[in-house]
Symmetry: C2
Subunit: 338 residues, 2 copies
């Protein structure tokens, strides 16, 4: 790697979004008189009577959860997207709006309130993976659902409103901003080269072996060259699969293992239940061929220096460009070594 | 306004960035078992011996601050951008990077540690405005500085590492992501219509009078139609000025008043020292004509329901599209009424 990238402020290009990130490798030494996060509450019980996601409990809307044994999925009681929204368009000069309908679901990963993905057996994570496949298929096949976003917010510092292990799925009629960018970049590349953008990138990463954290038969776990969050990472299938339905059973098991390895490394990094937002980007369910898509799962964890000091994406980052203080290479090295 | 926008999930288009925001007007009723922020620490002293920004104190790098009386500016001791970075480009297959150099400054708004902008007299805010003008001019005229980003992070929840009233200026050789988007959108519009995009938008807002919070002779303060943050607002000059150097003395005074009115309303909203990131977007200093630019200052405050519950831009927002729970119109009404 160009040695300048270790020492001097520079920007890196994200091939998937077409946007830049500012990297300041020299900046970790600044003093911090700012906010310290509270440490995550200690041990949670396996069942919490006040949790609206635990088996057998009653939710805010009065419904009772079944005595579920592994994964449990229900429609979000306070969904951001409505199923019954009328279709409309506002085109009033420079005020442009239109209806957006969809279905939001909650995916409980385990009946055990005390667990999170890194505490679960790989076989149990695989059940979550299979549930994601089922939802992507069922929702994606519905009339008017052109995109299915699977994600998890972990930790209250990431806005998670309930510590019970769970993720969400928001499916909707239009293509979200971030997905539209990746769609465009992958499409342009595929049309020119008839080859997967991410696949070709993986080959380069494998040859360099500077940012790879873990590999198994079907997946590479790495810190992308253009990572924004301090310990951002990506799980990428080696082969050019456009969505998670293209995984066979063996591949699903490998994917579950990759999630397990990465999240356990995260927990060990600062010796805390490591917060993050994670999400799967894959082909939209808009009925198009989408052969340019190479699906992947990304993890955006906010912690920077310790269990209590996070990176803030504020001022400059909101008005300018995301900025990071450690290089992708040193983050990868740390995670690999754990 | 189309009545559907009050009731149903929809998306709105940001004319300045070309991106969308998802609006869920029905969603404010959901229960919150998530994170509660700590209330901002009570009264601060007018001078704090441990603060590295107070007059006469010694900073982390050993330099001593002067006994300044109003605005005090110095180069950031732990700058994200280096002035002396060598110029280089990395074009290694799909790994693309290049040097980024620049100058980062800290702008202390007042010697009084206990104050923030809403507590300051309009005349004193005007001194800050004049300092911004001076810095924009001086930095912008320098060789290799093609963009000057003026911003403030207020409150520890917005990553502010020191409560002393201050903002920052990061100036650099390339155009940041967010600025590039606005540059493109304004340019396309101006080339087609020979008229300012924001100017034409203001006319529509003035005619509708649904999102305007405050007006004086030279400025409109409003919640933009496409606002992302719950109480996001924008200060826009009525006339088509491309940057803050085009303000005369009277206009500067009006701008200071607009800042004062808006930030005082914010503090009254939840009866707390209201956190936000604020920034000025204006013409790049890249030597081009930039007549399509109409400068403006935006405020992105995170609080949603109270002084302790903020909106989290996480999971869906990071992987999809920003999402908001109250409409721009109801936020504007609240702020106007205070
Ligand atoms: O320079 P400060 O105030 O310590 O740092 C703050 O503002 C910077 C610019 O928005 C961010 O990069 C930092 O994450 C934030 O903590
Ligand atoms: O639905 P939850 O978990 O209550 O809410 C959380 O995730 C959502 C989707 O990322 C965000 O819109 C909310 O701001 C966040 O608090």
């Amino acid at each position: 790697m160009n040695a300048h990238l270790k020492e001097y402020s520079h920007r890196r290009y994200n091939i998937l979004t077409g946007e830049w990130v500012l990297v300041s490798p020299h900046r970790t030494k600044r003093p911090w008189q700012g906010k310290q996060e509270d440490l995550a509450a200690e041990q949670r019980p396996a069942h919490d009577a006040s949790c609206y996601l635990c088996p057998g409990n009653t939710r805010a809307n009065g419904e009772k959860n079944p005595e579920y044994k592994d994964v449990f999925i229900f429609e979000n009681d306070f969904a951001a997207l409505q199923t019954d929204a009328p279709t409309f368009k506002v085109r009033d000069g420079l005020m442009i709006a239109e209806s957006e309908s969809g279905i939001c679901k909650v995916v409980c990963f385990s009946p055990d309130h005390s667990k999170s993905l890194p505490d679960m057996a790989v076989e149990d994570i695989k059940k979550v993976v299979n549930a994601w496949q089922h939802e992507y298929k069922t929702l994606g096949d519905m009339e008017g659902i052109n995109h299915v976003q699977i994600f998890e917010n972990k930790g209250d510092v990431m806005g998670c409103s309930n510590p019970h292990p769970h993720g969400q799925i928001w499916s909707q009629s239009t293509i979200p901003n971030e997905v539209a960018k990746k769609d465009q970049q992958q499409k342009a590349y595929f049309e020119e080269k008839r080859s997967s953008l991410l696949g070709d990138y993986l080959e380069q990463e494998l040859a360099l072996n500077e940012r790879i954290i873990f590999e198994n038969k079907h997946f590479i776990v790495l810190v992308p060259f253009w990572a924004v969050w301090p310990y951002e990472a990506m799980i990428v299938p080696r082969h050019h699969l456009k969505n998670i339905l293209e995984m066979d059973d063996d591949t699903c098991m490998n994917f579950a293992e990759a999630i397990s390895v990465l999240t356990r490394k995260y927990d060990r990094l600062f010796n805390t239940s490591f917060p993050y937002s994670a999400g799967i980007h894959q082909s939209p369910t808009n009925g198009q061929n989408n052969e340019h898509w190479h699906w992947h799962m990304s993890f955006y964890p906010p912690l920077l220096r310790s269990a209590t000091v996070k990176k803030f994406m504020v001022g400059y980052e909101m008005f300018g460009t995301p900025q990071r203080d450690i290089t992708a290479e040193s983050a990868a090295e740390m995670l690999k070594s754990l």
